[in-house]
């Protein structure tokens, strides 16, 4: 078994044309596209503007939500400040759903204990839980 091939090559998933068309329309410059199918949803992970993104579609091609991996230096300043009050930021994902924008942070305290920190679009804490 060629392990390298197994790592690099993506699994083949049959994706409806409506879903592919919808994805191409919203993320026209997407690269390195990898589809998966789970519980009647299609999920795609890809690069767009050099950032990792994950988008979820229903069978008809309706975009349900998408997530963007935000480099720490690109987090809006006021959001970053509020999240930093909860611990050192180790990861930030911008989470767009139909009607809201939220941020999903991983922060850690001085003892290196890591937490999931969920905030609203202004950086206000919604939930914090130990990972």
């Amino acid at each position: 078994m060629d392990l390298f091939k197994k790592i690099i090559n993506v699994a083949t998933v049959k994706v409806p044309k409506a879903v592919i068309d919808s994805m191409k329309q919203i993320f026209p410059a997407a690269k390195n596209i990898e589809w998966s199918h789970d519980r009647s949803l299609f999920e795609v992970i890809f690069y767009h503007d050099d950032l990792e993104k994950i988008a979820r579609y229903d069978n008809d091609g309706t975009l349900l939500e998408y997530r963007v991996n935000i480099p720490l230096e690109r987090i809006p300043k006021r959001i970053r400040k509020k999240a930093s009050d909860e611990g050192e930021i180790m990861n930030c994902i911008e989470f767009h759903s139909v009607d809201s924008l939220r941020y999903e942070f991983i922060v850690r305290d001085k003892d290196l204990v890591r937490y999931l920190l969920l905030t609203d679009k202004s950086g206000n804490k919604i939930r914090k839980e130990k990972l």
Binding site: D2, L3, F4, K5, K6, I7, I8, N9, V10, K31, N32, E34, I45, Y47, D50, E52, I54, R67, N69, P71, L72, E73, I89, M90, N91, I93, F95, E104, I106, L112, R114, L116, L131
Partner: protein, 186 residues
């Protein structure tokens, strides 16, 4: 019954230790998994001495945590999850392993948008050499997913990240691996 335990499945051994108190059977699991755990620890630390120390810790910790083994996964995948978690936590604490800092100073110069379709397989040694050029957390992600075939939620738990973060870091690790391979070959 095979008195030396060699013919008993992992899960049966765990069941008998938990229900029947046959604690001596743990030595069977210990012998069965010591080389595999050691190999993973060595892959992540590159120190034989440290890998041996961590392996001892992991197998003791696993014994102490046997009560929390739910049995909805195999014993081996549970043990490997504890192994990666323990090694990464150790490296984060003692070696100041810091993925965000490393990642921002090692930005990917190019995202390659193509599949790998070479006829000839890459040797295991060459693959390990390439993996050693990734950050240890990226290497661990690839090992968990493709060597040990762990599900993403378990990988996320082991690394103490969210599932979305695990998916995205894995994506980056694969993109970096392909970039390094191409750079090496051209």
């Amino acid at each position: 019954m095979a008195e030396n335990g060699l013919e008993i499945s992992d899960e049966e051994i765990v069941r008998r230790i938990r229900k029947g108190g046959e604690t001596e059977l743990y030595s069977v699991l210990y012998k069965r998994y010591y080389p595999k755990v050691l190999d993973k620890c060595y892959s992540l630390t590159h120190s034989r001495e440290l890998a041996e120390e961590l392996t001892g810790d992991i197998l003791s910790k696993t014994y102490e945590k046997l009560e929390s083994f739910k049995g909805n996964a195999t014993f081996s995948s549970w043990l490997y999850s504890v192994t990666y978690n323990h090694c990464i936590d150790w490296l984060r604490e003692k070696k100041k392993l810091h993925y965000p800092e490393w990642n921002s100073s090692n930005e990917l110069p190019e995202i390659i948008d193509e599949a790998y379709d070479e006829e000839e397989a890459i040797s295991y040694d060459k693959l390990m050499t390439l993996l050693d050029r990734l950050h240890t957390e990226e290497k661990a992600l690839i090992m968990m997913r493709y060597f040990d075939e762990m599900p993403l939620n378990k990988i996320a738990e082991a690394l103490r990240v969210t599932e979305s973060a695990a998916k995205m870091r894995l994506k980056r690790a694969k993109a970096r691996l392909l970039f390094l391979y191409n750079k090496n070959e051209n």
